[in-house]
């Protein structure tokens, strides 16, 4: 079963400590286990672009800029046996400590 891991910042989490960021170890581990499909960091909101089509007109804007201190900092798609395995994989990601992880099951479009 595929899950999208939204790796998000969280103002209530402990402050980020680069010394304890073991993301390389995490990636090696999930790849060795064969549960990692793909994933990356995401560039900050400053580099985001919003695309909308309104009444047939294309609207392209910089942003979105929100007041929120919580944003998505990265993503990983993992393929796990079930939610328990996905929780275990997510719990070992360094951002589970320094931020939070939201697990969303993929909802396959049966075409």
């Amino acid at each position: 079963m595929e899950y999208m891991m939204f790796v998000a910042t969280d103002p209530e989490a402990e402050p980020y400590d680069p010394q304890q960021d073991n993301i390389e170890e995490w990636v090696r581990d999930v790849e060795a286990r064969g549960v990692h499909v793909r994933g990356d960091r995401l560039r900050p909101i400053e580099d985001a672009t919003t695309v909308r089509l309104r009444g047939g007109e294309l609207l392209v804007t910089d942003g979105p800029f929100t007041e929120s201190k919580e944003w998505i900092a990265g993503y990983d798609i993992i393929d796990c046996a079930d939610l328990d395995e996905a929780i275990e994989v997510a719990s070992k990601h360094p951002m589970a400590r320094f931020g939070r992880i939201e697990l969303r099951p993929a909802w396959p479009l049966e075409l």
Partner: protein
Amino acid sequence: MAPGALTEPEEADVARADVSRAIAAAYEFEWGRIVSTLIRITGDWSLAEDCAQDAIELAIGRWTREGIPRNPGAWLTTVAKNRALDRRRRAVNEAAKLREVAIMHELESWGTEPADEDIQDDRLRLIFTCCHPALTMEARVALTLRTVAGLTTAEIARAFLVPEKTMAQRLLRSKRKIRNAGIPYRVPPARLLADRLCGVLAVLYLLFTEGYSASSGERLVRDGLASEAIRVARALVQLMPDEPEARGLLALMLLQHSRRDARVGAGGELLTLEEQDRSLWDRSAIAEGVAVLELAHVGGEGGVYQLQAAIAACHATAAAQDATDYGRIASLYHRLATSHPSPIFTFNYAIARGMSAGAAVGLEEVNLVAESKALDGYYLVPAAQADFLRRLGRTEEAAERYREALSLVSSGPEGRYLERRLREVSADS
């Protein structure tokens, strides 16, 4: 009047009573087995519940007319299984056919007397899945009542004072989440087991205290909740005999539940331990609770439920309130507060100290809890201060605290108790 006209209705009544007993037994022993096995085979929670419910409903009519079958469990299993086969046959479409063939095959080979191990595994799977931490606490409680205990949606809705439609939606949402989020239908592996078992016990205890505290809602329905919690805990102990805390929880529930008939006075007011008529305590529940607790200690001591059960046992086995070993109770609460820090345990330690070392010491300890503000807004803190002040003869201060407690309490029996005490101290001063 035709001969026999007087006896026939009686016979019918006897038959009806037999049938209700058989149906009650079916809920006790067959419901969980049927539902949990159907879920394992089909993965379809609603189908499992519907088929088990259909079987029970069919049994009520058929057994009344034709008599109770020799093996009611096998009868119910066969009906539920045939219902499930019918439903799956109707639902099948081309795309799902291969998977369906496998399910149909397994359904057809589901015997009416499967090996004990299979049943136990299925029932445990069901309990652990209903109590999965990815579900909200509300959902866990509702699912456990519906699928493990076999209560109807209407009954659960009444117990939690929500409209039936709301409860139906809550159950539907939970079952959907189990399927869509990939919550596994299994007993967790060893590395997760301790944690998850804690979660299951917490759900059962919440279910029990909802019934026991009767903070709102119909009393009868809520007593039923406490009994259901005991029933599921009993099943859990049977399924996991080596888990001391499962036994600890069962013992705790039995001991607390033994006082159910003595807790409320004639006017519906809540009675304190010292005011309760101890002859109304359920002796057999107490004996069972104490025995279960002793067995629990064999597997290891010091768990949070075992310690609480040990405290409940001190109360339950005391011949009179003034014969209660409050020194031991205080030391048990001290262990609890140290190993599982919680302001409630500290507060109860303070009360027990007051009961063993005198009202002055108790008042001092409770004042410390009040000053810590950890239990701000909890009516029992000013109520305890009031009781100790009353015992010390400081009636005016006591009245003030009773009034403060009254301003914090919402429901009937607790409020009536406080009002009665307030009248007493007001008359004295």
